[in-house]
């Protein structure tokens, strides 16, 4: 299926279609009507508080609002239970989309899987990794709770139209190299503010070759370079993913014309090895072979970045027949109940448990130092998550190294950062 090719950037095409204008240009301030408005158990309580301050009684459209308790769920303590209770009560009162513990998943795994976000959409979420849906060719971006409150009340939100930086990835990827490695490499090249205020576009044959799961991983970390959105073109794979899930019309777009991009950055990734980001920035990235002396205490496989079924398949392929190293914890967290079920059906859960991994219900949990795998002072984790800031996974004296699921699984087995090729 061939999408539309436009003479403006994809970001501009989608934004224009959502603000009632024929065209928009970078720098324009516009009022956008989003297709979906998201918040979670950390950000929704503030959004709900601010919502009522406006003197509003009802949300503008319950079908375009979703709340997902996922960060501290199943609730880790009384305070987080009180927060989740606010979401539950608000969702029930207003009839919005809501996923209870038992049906939920990590929001950015769950929403595409459920068909709640679709190609060509504008999606805003009170979570910085809302940019994940750019993989579908949707303009999806993170905001704060107050923005979400206003959008829930009015159906509109202000935006500044971003410039676009196109990233073109040439070449065929090596074994064990995927979306996580491409995005870590990119952030390493341009820095954590290298795409600040810009739309990023990911294209080229290496991106074309990725599954949707791999593309979600790439778009997910656009924010780690400061990007407002991380867009992929909607191709046959996108449509094959979206079509059976969609319960409303959507628009599959090609990228716009390259001349309209502010910058074009091209990489030959044919020789790229799996990438690892050392503490304490996602831009501290080098090839995995540079880290072989780094001992670990914990390995985490999951999150909105790498908690999809392909991620678990990769990790299971690596770990099958091996054991997690002595005194190392390997924690595997599926991104949604559907991913969990698929992992059971495919025998992946058995593989992980026989290898000595802990296998959890879906949650953001350890990624942000919430629960389900907090690090003590002096401890070090390798993780498929997205951030390795000071204190991100627990003690401010702990360390997080970011890697893909195959590298993380191999590291769990060897007790040090390792390439799957070493097993």
């Amino acid at each position: 299926m061939q999408g539309r090719i436009n003479k403006v950037t994809l970001a501009e095409t989608i934004l224009a279609a959502h603000c009632g204008r024929k065209s928009v240009s970078p720098g324009d301030f516009i009022s956008v009507r989003p297709d979906m408005i998201l918040s979670n158990d950390i950000t929704a309580p503030i959004a709900i508080r601010e919502f009522y301050k406006m003197g509003v009684k009802k949300v503008f459209d319950p079908h375009k609002i979703v709340m997902v308790p996922d960060h501290f769920v199943p609730n880790k303590d009384i305070a987080s239970a009180e927060q989740s209770k606010l979401l539950r009560e608000f969702a029930a009162e207003h009839g919005i989309n809501y996923f209870e513990c038992g049906q939920m998943g990590i929001e950015h795994v769950l929403l595409p899987e459920q068909g709640l976000v679709l190609p060509g959409d504008v999606v805003i979420g009170a979570d910085s990794h809302t940019c994940t849906y750019g993989a579908l060719g949707a303009f999806a971006t993170g905001m704060g709770s107050t923005d979400i409150a206003v959008a829930m009340a009015t159906g509109e939100i202000w935006m500044k139209v971003p410039k676009t930086i196109r990233f073109v990835y040439h070449g065929r990827l090596q074994e064990w190299v995927g979306g996580k490695d491409l995005i870590l490499y990119t952030i390493g090249q341009i820095g954590v503010d290298g795409a600040l205020y810009n739309a990023m576009e990911f294209t080229g044959e290496a991106v074309d070759s990725l599954s949707m799961d791999g593309r979600f991983t790439m778009s997910n970390m656009a924010i780690e370079a400061g990007g407002k959105v991380g867009l992929c073109r909607a191709d046959d794979k996108t449509v094959a993913y979206a079509k059976p899930r969609a319960r409303r019309a959507y628009q599959a777009y090609e990228l716009g014309h390259v001349d309209e991009c502010a910058h074009v950055i091209e990489y030959d990734v044919s020789g790229l090895e799996p990438q690892v980001a050392a503490p304490h920035l996602p831009s501290n990235t080098k090839g995995v072979s540079q880290f072989r002396d780094v001992k670990i205490h914990q390995a985490v496989i999951g999150s909105c970045t790498n908690g999809r079924i392909e991620d678990l398949r990769l990790a299971a392929t690596v770990i099958k027949g091996h054991k997690v190293a002595p005194f190392v914890r390997c924690i595997v967290i599926p991104g949604s109940q559907q991913v969990y079920l698929d992992a059971i059906k495919e025998g992946l859960v058995e593989t992980f448990i026989k290898a000595g991994c802990a296998f959890s219900t879906p949650t953001c949990g350890p990624c942000l130092g919430g629960h389900m795998g907090i690090l003590a002072a002096g401890e070090r984790a390798v993780s498929t998550t997205n951030r390795n800031f000071v204190g991100r996974m627990g003690s401010p004296k702990s360390e997080v190294y970011l890697a893909n699921p195959a590298v993380t699984a191999a590291s769990a087995v060897l007790g040090r950062i390792a390439s799957p090729a070493e097993l």
Partner: protein, 166 residues
């Protein structure tokens, strides 16, 4: 006129540094303020006085979308943040809740910890009482002036909604 002493930080101060996620099981500003900057400056909360000013290099507030970050800074008593640049979501959040931000690479580079700054928000002028130097912050886009003048996005929207209903 804002006046306060400087707390100086480097580049890429992330929202986990501003307010660690382990404290995000509450959203009360006073509670959040108790842990502001805890993981990169354990004494910040003890030392900060009402009106003080955070000064940092590039990409201040990068990372998560948590509005708890500007809320914690504001509730800790900080009157403004001056930085060479701000991360996008943090910038929106701060404007939305009425925490003044000033973007000036020169002012950020010149200030040292403990200096006293005076800031004229309306004029966008930052003056170092310590050194006598004066800096002009990059002006806000005119679109945002209305939000800032209203004291934040909620009041701005509330007024617009009330106006539309008449």
């Amino acid at each position: 006129m804002i006046s306060g002493k400087v707390f100086k930080y480097g580049a890429n101060v992330d929202t986990d540094a501003i307010i660690p996620a382990r404290y995000l099981n509450v959203s009360d500003p006073t509670e959040l303020a108790k842990h502001c900057m805890e993981d990169i400056d354990a004494d910040f909360v003890k030392k900060v006085d009402k009106g003080d000013i955070i000064v940092a290099s590039t990409n201040f507030g990068c990372g998560s979308s948590r509005e708890h970050a500007p809320i914690a800074i504001k509730a800790a008593g900080v009157s403004a943040v001056v930085a060479a640049s701000f991360a996008r979501i943090f910038f929106r959040n701060a404007i939305n809740i009425g925490l003044p931000l000033l973007e000036s690479a020169e002012a950020a580079a010149a200030a040292s910890a403990g200096d006293t700054l005076e800031i004229d928000l309306e004029a966008g002028i930052i003056r170092s009482v310590t050194s006598g130097e004066t800096f002009r912050a990059n002006p806000y886009p005119s679109f945002m002036a209305g939000i800032i003048a209203s004291g934040g996005l909620i009041e701005y929207t509330r007024r617009n909604l009330a106006g539309g209903a008449q």
